[in-house]
Symmetry: C2
Subunit: 220 residues, 2 copies
DNA sequence: AAAAATTTTTAGATTTACCTAAAAATAAAT
DNA sequence: ATTTATTTTTAGGTAAATCTAAAAATTTTT
């Protein structure tokens, strides 16, 4: 049986490993809101259980077993987020903390049934893909809004920032998942992007644009 | 913030207090699957936090604060059970363990919304009443099947035993919530009860009958 | 390549919830 | 009313996950 805490470590390591190959102690400590010394302790424990490969001073990588456990938690987290938004009418900026708790409920049966109840969703309310019960992800083809050229268009299909502040901001601008957009201009001065959404012309900072993910249907 | 463990103690004490006024250390230990010595430790902690009144060697009673906390957990447990049965198609004998975990998810908002999503149910899949968000229970008027006389009838509205074995047995006999029954005979020899359900005559042991709760509509 | 800065680990403590074994209090039986 | 049995508590310890402070390794800078 895996403890709540172990599961959190695995999940955090999994997400950090999406950016860098070897995940550093300090990075984990920051994410998990704890001290590096505590992380070292836990890493040793996880290594003992064959969930991570660990070389002193070199950081960790998940083993196959560790990765499977992590993906399973990610799956649960995202399915619960879909439940909260689709069924309980939570906003996309309100679901993270609750899902953080729900993801640790351990019943395989529960998750299978929840998945079915939700209609086997392929992505969560932020556009992140939901792995199937074997841990397989559907292929996704996102590009950052900042990578579009003037005249290019596409559909908002994800965000790479989950802070409540960011999501509320997008909501206010009408930039929600599924919306069609087209880049009409890019400002030289600050790199801010002018886009066309639902008939309106709006300007968003480069910082915001960077975290909006677009699928282009290959038309550009 | 109340710990997972503290919540479990409160819940157990609450349920034990339904039978006896002063709840004994050993009784708690048995329910919570731990040793009496550990219970004494935890009781002291709960008394410190004003959740129970504790007199050495005399057992505990919940304070008003403790009772509120306990009722809140009972509410969550029962609402999650309704969710599992009504929405995820769990059987009534399969929900207990999962609800045991879900009841500790701590978000007031979540439970309010879940309650609404489920249509503000008044009772759980075993017929146990669900307190409202203020902790108030609807009045229920159950009697044990064994208290009915020959010729008396009523509706099955609850069970006072939640073991999987018992519930599966009832299921097989067709004795589920909402079913109309009538007592046609009581065997002198072993006290077993003959009843009429959906047109059929069946015989159930006194032990089983004792745990079936009937509402009689006051017609007897 | 030595010095400085950063990162990571070790060592030793703390807290929570549990344990065993023995002592103390209460309840039951003779 | 003693003795016996049961229940409860105390005392001292363990394991998990954390912490602080200091030491060791690695990386960066000069």
């Amino acid at each position: 049986m895996r403890s709540f805490t172990e599961e959190n470590y695995l999940k955090i390591i999994y997400h950090l490993a999406e950016k860098t190959n070897n995940v550093q102690t300090n990075a984990i400590a920051e994410q998990i809101q704890t001290k590096p010394a505590s992380v070292t302790d836990m890493i040793k424990k996880l290594a003992e259980k064959d969930l991570v490969d660990y070389v002193k001073y070199q950081g960790v990588t998940l083993t196959e077993k560790g990765k499977q456990a992590a993906v399973d938690i990610v799956r649960k987290h995202r399915l619960w987020e879909v439940f909260l938004v689709d069924k309980l009418n939570f906003k996309w900026d309100e679901v993270h903390d609750v899902a953080e708790e729900l993801e640790h409920i351990k019943s395989v049966d529960l998750i299978e049934r929840l998945d079915e109840f939700l209609g086997f969703p392929k992505s969560d309310p932020h556009g992140d893909p939901i792995p199937d019960k074997h841990g397989r992800f559907a292929k996704t083809q996102f590009i950052k809004l900042t990578e579009l050229k003037i005249g290019d268009g596409g559909t908002i299909t994800g965000v790479s920032q989950h802070s409540s502040a960011f999501l509320k901001h997008l909501e206010k601008l009408g930039l929600t998942l599924g919306k069609q957009i087209e880049v009409s201009d890019v400002t030289d001065f600050d790199g801010s992007v002018e886009i066309l959404v639902t008939g309106k012309q709006i300007n968003i900072s480069r910082e915001v644009a960077k975290h909006i993910l677009i699928s282009t249907n290959g038309k550009n």
